[in-house]
């Protein structure tokens, strides 16, 4: 029975294990650093942390947790579960026990049957059948005895009887031994009963639920430890006032007593604490579990993000008694997520930017292409046109009758205007980008107005009266950018003519007080400055009205009138053509000059464009030498001086200046055949022009003229070796020069005008120029430029060579590099000046320059004139203009030298 009981017990245990398999049995026990191990004494722990935890656990578990479990729903339900589980287990055990009992009973019955059989056999064998009836009466006892005998089957002994069978002694002996056996049997029975009682007792104690539960709880604990021991998790329970009653934290920074009984706000400070507190309260109020991510920024553990789960806790009466709270640190994840989001965002932004950029690039490319086209186009127009104008100018120097001269003058000014307009259209982009510079030149407003009208009248195809009206108080001579002003006027006038079919178109000028928009505006100051005006000089504001009696402009079209490429309506664009650029240019130009352009209009009655501009008043006493290009041309005309005239009128046909009734209308008076002759003819024309300037014979044979008039000094000093030159080289260079000219005129080039000027200059004696420069490349470039300008020069590679060259030959101009090896430009200049003053080269000799011979006669001549020396500086600190002047230089050209700079400089010093 003992053996059976033990088996039973084991079965039971096994059953328990199966049922509670969710709690691995021995996990907790095998872990040496089991945090929850209650039995482990706190003092044993190696680290303070563990001590802490152990304490915590102890406190929480033994004092708080049972309370909690008793009072809360969860607690009671858990207990219920455990009880149920235990009951089930017990039921199961009872069932098993019963089954076992049944088996045992059955076994016993079998055993009894067997016993009987054995006894019968024994009786048969031992031949003692008479014994049976005796024992039959007490069969129960006998059975029991037999049973006991069977029980002791293992230790069964045969009773050895020495006596002879069926004797008295035999029976006596048998009775004795049987008595002994009975005694032993009784004794065993007693012991077994005792054992049974004991077994029953242990069974009772064993089946008590507390032990089971405790065991289960231990397993649960163990499992929790196993799972949670490294998890970055904080768990806690807080009461209604959000005071911690229990907390589990793997990495605590605070001790138990710092936390328990306190609220978050009392424990921590910093960002996120309030939020979490509020969140917990919210959950408590709503009674609904919820999750939230909260970033804490506390002194205690820095910046960390927690994913917090909070659920309300109810007691059995369904009253809220607090919250359970679980937090997991997700800082890294959040950071990663944010990083990802940021990356994604950046990516999107970058993509957007990229597409934007592509768009911009596309637009820029388009714009560039358009600009390029415009540039090319205007270049294509400009080149032949400059030929036309140039030839016309040359033609105007020939002997013409009055009528021819008038025609030619209009031709020139029109052509000139077209050229200017083309340039100005190109300039529009410059105005927009703010790089356009205004020039300040003196001009006569009356002449400008007259000329604009005259030009307009020349191409007039309608019966319109053009009139100009200039108030008396408008100064004779003012300073401003005449080209731009003329461009504006021409534009407005041609616009007016275009949209006027009958009546008149006119220009009215009058002086007005300074307009309000200009008061104290910095913009205006800038503009004045650009216009060459300074405050000390008298300035005057002139209002200019360009009026017509045309179709007028509807009011709604006025706002977009000054916009680029916009016309009042598509209808007009079709009917009247035009680019829609004119007014935009006008407006920008006027504003650039510090003025204002406005318009008033009435449909069918006409429009008036008004622009107000500031000008500086120029004194008229120096007006003989101040002519700008434009008035220059005007003054060439042998017409009555009209500089003070205040009113002009050009009437259709009969009122036009071409009163002879000639081919006035349209382009007929600009015969193209004449304007585009063959290159050879052009050259000849050029030569003729040269002759005229020189007062030479116009009718001389052309070839003779060319060679005869080719300037003697041209290309003479290429080698810088003084005045000796051969006939051969002369003719060679002159033919070269002419071929140059030819090519100039056949190749479309914007330099044609310059060339024309150059040709005129060549009529005077070719000046002698010395270039002092050490850089080969600079020399090469300068040489090419000089060639373009029609000059030749000698070259010196340093100051010493320069001094030597000047000693040996007479020059009209020296271009001197400042920074050179051996002897720099400044020193060389000082030596030259010293020579000019003293008439000897002593200073130079002192300075170590080896002057071989001093030619006295040249010396005398040279010493009377001051040789113009122009410095070429790189505009650095060491080559300041002040220093150049201080060392006796006359002027300076900043490097890199450009054709324009060189031209201006030569123009200034070679006359």
């Amino acid at each position: 029975m003992v053996c059976e009981m033990e088996t039973d017990h084991q079965t039971e245990e096994m059953d328990v294990e199966v049922l509670s398999s969710m709690w691995p049995e021995d996990v907790g026990g095998t872990e040496p650093d089991n945090q929850f191990n209650v039995e482990k004494p706190a003092g044993d722990s190696d680290t303070l942390k563990e001590v802490d935890i152990a304490e915590k656990r102890t406190m929480a578990d033994l004092k708080r947790l049972p309370d909690l479990l008793d009072t809360t729903d969860q607690g009671s339900s858990q207990l219920t579960n455990l009880v149920k589980q235990w009951e089930y287990m017990q039921d199961h055990a009872v069932r098993l026990l019963r089954e076992e009992l049944k088996i045992l009973t059955k076994q016993r019955e079998e055993a009894e049957a067997k016993e009987l059989k054995i006894i019968e056999e024994h009786n048969f064998e031992s031949e003692e059948p008479e014994n049976v009836p005796v024992l039959d009466e007490s069969s129960d006892l006998f059975r029991r005895f037999k049973e006991k005998k069977r029980d002791k089957l293992v230790g069964r002994k045969r009773i050895e009887i020495d006596e002879e069978f069926d004797t008295v002694a035999y029976w006596k002996q048998k009775a004795l031994s049987l008595e002994k056996m009975l005694e032993a049997s009784t004794e065993r029975e007693r012991r077994l009963i005792k054992k049974l009682n004991e077994s029953l007792k242990t069974m009772e104690s064993h089946s008590a639920p507390v032990e089971e539960l405790t065991q289960n709880l231990k397993r649960a604990e163990g499992f929790l430890h196993f799972i949670l021991q490294n998890a970055p998790i904080v768990m806690g329970h807080q009461d209604k006032d959000l005071r911690y009653l229990f907390i589990y934290n793997k990495f605590p920074t605070l001790r138990e007593h710092d936390i328990l009984g306190k609220t978050d706000v009392e424990i921590f400070h910093g960002g996120g604490v309030k939020e979490s507190e509020d969140f917990k309260r919210e959950v408590l109020e709503k009674g609904k579990a919820s999750k939230r991510e909260i970033t804490f920024e506390t002194d205690l553990f820095g910046s960390k993000t927690f994913l917090i789960y909070v659920e309300p806790v109810y007691n059995k009466a369904r009253e809220k008694i607090g919250i359970n709270y679980m937090g997991m640190e997700v800082t890294d994840q959040v950071r990663k997520r944010e990083k990802m989001a940021k990356l994604r965002e950046d990516n999107a932004v970058r993509k957007a930017m990229e597409s934007e950029l592509t768009k911009t690039i596309h637009i820029t490319e388009e714009t560039m292409r358009a600009k390029q086209m415009l540039a090319t186009m205007s270049h294509e127009i400009r080149s032949p046109l400059s030929g036309v104008v140039g030839m016309a100018e040359i033609l105007s120097t020939t002997k013409l009758d009055k009528e021819q001269r008038q025609l030619l003058n209009v031709m020139i000014s029109s052509g000139d205007l077209v050229l200017q307009l083309i340039n100005d259209i190109l300039d529009l982009s410059k105005v927009e980008s703010g790089v356009m510079k205004l020039e300040a030149t003196k001009f006569r407003p009356r002449e400008v107005v007259k000329h604009v009208l005259q030009t307009a009248a020349a191409s007039l195809k309608k019966e319109l009266t053009l009139e100009g009206n200039i108030a008396d108080e408008v100064p004779i001579l003012v300073v401003g950018d005449v080209l731009r002003i003329r461009q504006i006027l021409t534009n407005l006038i041609s616009n007016a003519i275009k949209f006027t079919h009958q009546g008149k178109v006119g220009i009215k000028l009058k002086v007005i007080p300074e307009p309000s928009f200009a008061n104290g505006l910095e913009l205006n100051a800038d503009a004045e400055e650009q216009n060459g005006l300074t405050e000390t000089e008298t300035s005057v504001w002139i209002r200019c009205d360009v009026y017509d009696t045309g179709i007028g402009i509807p009011e709604n079209a006025l706002p977009c009138l000054f916009k680029k490429y916009m016309q009042a309506s598509a209808d007009h664009a079709r009917k009247y053509g035009g680019t829609g650029l004119g007014l935009a240019i006008c407006k920008q130009l006027v504003e650039l000059m510090g003025g204002q352009l406005t318009v008033t209009s009435q449909v069918d009655l006409g429009s008036t464009f008004t622009f107000i501009l500031p000008y500086k008043v120029a004194t008229s006493n120096d007006h003989s030498d101040d002519q700008d290009e434009f008035s220059d041309m005007v003054d060439h005309q042998p017409e009555p001086d009209d500089s003070t005239e205040g009113y002009f009128q050009f009437k259709p046909l009969l009122g036009s200046i071409y009163s002879n009734g000639g081919p006035v209308i349209g382009n007929n008076f600009l015969p193209h055949k004449v304007m585009l002759p063959s290159p050879v003819k052009l050259i000849n024309g050029q030569s003729e022009a040269v002759q005229v300037e020189n007062g030479g014979c116009m009718d001389g044979p052309r070839h003779e003229t060319r060679s005869g008039h080719c300037p003697e000094s041209a290309h003479q000093y290429e080698n810088g070796n003084g005045p000796c030159h051969s006939k051969e080289s002369e003719s060679c260079s002159s033919s070269q020069a002419s071929s140059e000219m030819e090519s100039e005129f056949t190749v479309s080039s914007p330099r044609e005008e310059e060339k024309a000027e150059t040709v005129v200059k060549e009529t005077s004696k070719q000046p002698k120029i010395l270039l002092v420069e050490d850089n080969k490349i600079n020399i090469m470039v300068a040489k090419s430029m000089m060639k373009q300008l029609g000059y030749t020069f000698d070259i010196a590679n340093n100051g010493v060579e320069a001094v030597t060259a000047i000693n040996g030959s007479s020059y009209d101009l020296v271009l001197m590099d400042v920074c050179m090896p051996v002897l720099d430009g400044l020193k060389a200049t000082r030596l030259i000046r010293s020579y000019e003053q003293s008439g000897n080269w002593d200073a130079a000799v002192e300075a170590g320059v080896d002057i071989k011979t001093l030619e006295d006669k040249q010396l005398c001549v040279r010493s009377t004139n001051r040789l113009p020396i122009i410095a070429m500086t790189a505009n650095t600190l060491s080559e300041s203009s002040e220093e150049c002047y201080a060392n006796g230089m006359d002027s300076f050209i900043s490097k890199p030298v450009t054709l324009q700079k060189l031209k201006e400089c030569l123009k200034q010093y070679l006359h």
């Binding site: 560039m368 292409r369 390029q372 540039a375 090319t376 270049h379 190109l426 982009s429 410059k430 070269q736 071929s739 140059e740 090519s743 100039e744 056949t746 190749v747 080039s749 914007p750 330099r751 050490d774 850089n775 080969k776 490349i777 600079n778 090469m780 470039v781 090419s784 430029m785 060639k787 373009q788 590099d817 920074c819 090896p821 790189a874 650095t876 490097k895 890199p896 030298v897 450009t898 054709l899």
Partner: protein, 156 residues
């Protein structure tokens, strides 16, 4: 054929514009181009080849001078830089010129490391420019071979 020429011309224009926009060249190069005419059809190429020869020579001089560690003759380097500055300024090699200006200052300050660095930059820069201009000339050649005329490029 015409389309081909037009395309080449467009390509040429864009290329020139890019050279200006990227700061390889400045207005002085335009000036140089305008000096070229039928009388001297290879003027630009001649000047440039002279310039690049000069570059090779001057950079070589400077490299040798800067190689004398401890006894670097900054005056000599300065003179070479000045030459190069003048030349690059004359041909409109904007970047080289800009580098030379820096270089000169470094030279005056006797800043050895700066000089060496600058020299390397100059070396790279002029070679880059040379390659770019070579491309330009090739394009010009192609245009001429295709029967077109090399367009004038208005950089404004």
């Amino acid at each position: 054929m015409d389309a081909h020429v037009a395309q080449l011309q467009m390509q040429y224009r864009n290329y020139i514009l890019s050279l200006y926009q990227q700061g390889f060249l400045d207005d002085q190069f335009t000036e140089l181009k305008s000096l070229q005419d039928d009388g001297s059809p290879d003027f630009v190429a001649e000047v440039l080849s002279l310039f690049f020869d000069d570059c090779v020579k001057l950079v070589g001089n400077m490299a040798r001078a800067l190689d004398q560690i401890g006894t670097v003759d900054f005056c000599q380097v300065g003179a070479n830089v000045h030459q190069l500055k003048g030349s690059s300024s004359s041909v409109g090699a904007k970047r080289v010129k800009g580098l030379c200006i820096n270089f000169k200052e470094l030279c005056e300050a006797k800043n050895y490391e700066g000089c060496v660095r600058c020299l390397q930059q100059v070396d790279i820069e002029y070679k880059t420019l040379k390659a770019k201009l070579q491309d330009m000339f090739n394009l010009e050649k192609q245009i001429v071979q295709a029967g077109g005329i090399v367009p004038q490029v208005d950089i404004n």
